[in-house]
Symmetry: D2
Subunit: 152 residues, 4 copies
């Protein structure tokens, strides 16, 4: 990593961590940030009855919340300073029950545009050594500019 | 309402309330059930910093969680006894920031099939007398049969 | 209808018919415009082996093409003159095989925004007196401004 | 490639080519099959005014039609003999205008289930040496069994 890349990495990490800390929902769910890189952000949710649905699996809503957040921050990590990110829409396919010790959402940018960014997130259920794909999300993220109240 | 309709209404309400009470996530978010009818279920989320994103709006993940749940229970309300409901996929369009006193998701069934049901949910932000559409969800719900662990 | 409403209706019809006539795909499929009103546009596709998939049903791609077009023109009908419409994304749920004499897509605007519009389309298979819902589409339409090559 | 793999490859190719030949829509659009492998299928559409929208780009409906078909055949290629494939739902994000000599959709299976398969398709516009991503599709494909009229 060059000095320039290291500086960019540090800038992105600070931006994402600062914004994430303001998300009341992530604290309420007990979700935390994992790896962060320009264009790629990971969020980890410990599985517990606090985030369950009626059969004991992690709720699709909790899976979606961390997947949307991971995709959104992947998008934000590539936006100019001063811009804010809002989710315009997302779709999530739930391909297996979310059962495990932790649920891990890995967001990444597919196409960054001036106004709209397409990001995806893969979500895995982690049980010890084994990670299993449980969901796949695609999202359109909007870059908000010169909106004093919507930054990062 | 005939006696038969009243009995069906009571049966559906008991089924949905019983399943909802097992959803740890709904309790964690502070969401409660609203009106229930065969094919239509309402869920209400008080807005607070506990469910916010970084700009202070209600988080798209929290909006999605109650919209998915309202759509899922609308679908379940029409499924035979002993069946369970799982979300296969959903898409949500977020058309305005979710700002208000309460967020209300109203789910309803569009097409009930033997295996798959299409349900939608409209989500409103409630500010006193005024209700504003903030999101629209479409979801495919799957009816699980003879799966002892997946009922309601 | 007031004189003003009649003028608006005529203006919208002329705009949509003019743009539709430039769509090579609609001619290739044999699709035609049906009813047009501000915020609501109908497109009709005669069913034939020219638009079939492998089992003889009308192809999901043909169903999607007219549903997307109906939703897009519903959105365009409410955009200022000189703007053009592009589809940013759509999702379609196919709830029954598209079998009938004609397939009819009815698009309408749910929320018109400055940049993005949410539109939906319901698609019906028409067999004589009977119309059956076969698909439901939600789409984000983008309003393009001051882009000389992208008008209507 | 072992003899067994070569036999599987030949079986898949014959199955997909046989089914594709029955799709009236693909012939009407002028689309052809490209590379085929178990779990991955490519479809190619020559760009022309016959598949255009009003601004001269390839129509989102045509892009969707080949993306859905590529994803569907990727799913079918992994289904047991005698089963048929139907699209339950798909979402497509259109990230750039589809402008080029040919449009190429590459479908692949993400998760093959007993009843439902998640497949995706990336769509590229091909202009000489340059391939540009123009769309990304996710689809739920349903495996139909013991339905005499719905095979392959």
């Amino acid at each position: 990593m060059t000095n320039e890349q290291a500086a960019e990495q540090a800038r992105v990490e600070a931006r994402i961590r600062g914004s994430f800390a303001k998300q009341g929902l992530m604290a309420t769910l007990g979700a935390v940030l994992g790896d962060i890189a320009p264009g790629a952000v990971e969020i980890i949710l410990p599985a517990s009855s606090a985030v369950s649905q009626q059969h004991g699996f992690v709720h699709a809503g909790a899976v979606s919340a961390i997947a949307d957040t991971a995709a959104g921050y992947a998008a934000l990590s590539l936006m100019p300073a001063g811009h804010g990110v809002l989710t315009t829409e997302f779709k999530i396919n739930l391909v297996a029950p979310a059962v495990g010790d932790r649920i891990i959402a890995r967001g990444r940018v597919v196409k960054a545009g001036r106004t709209l960014t397409l990001a995806v997130a893969e979500v895995f259920a982690d049980r010890g050594a084994n990670q299993k794909l449980v969901a796949f999300l695609t999202a359109t993220m909007m870059s908000m500019q010169e909106r004093g109240d919507i930054v990062d």
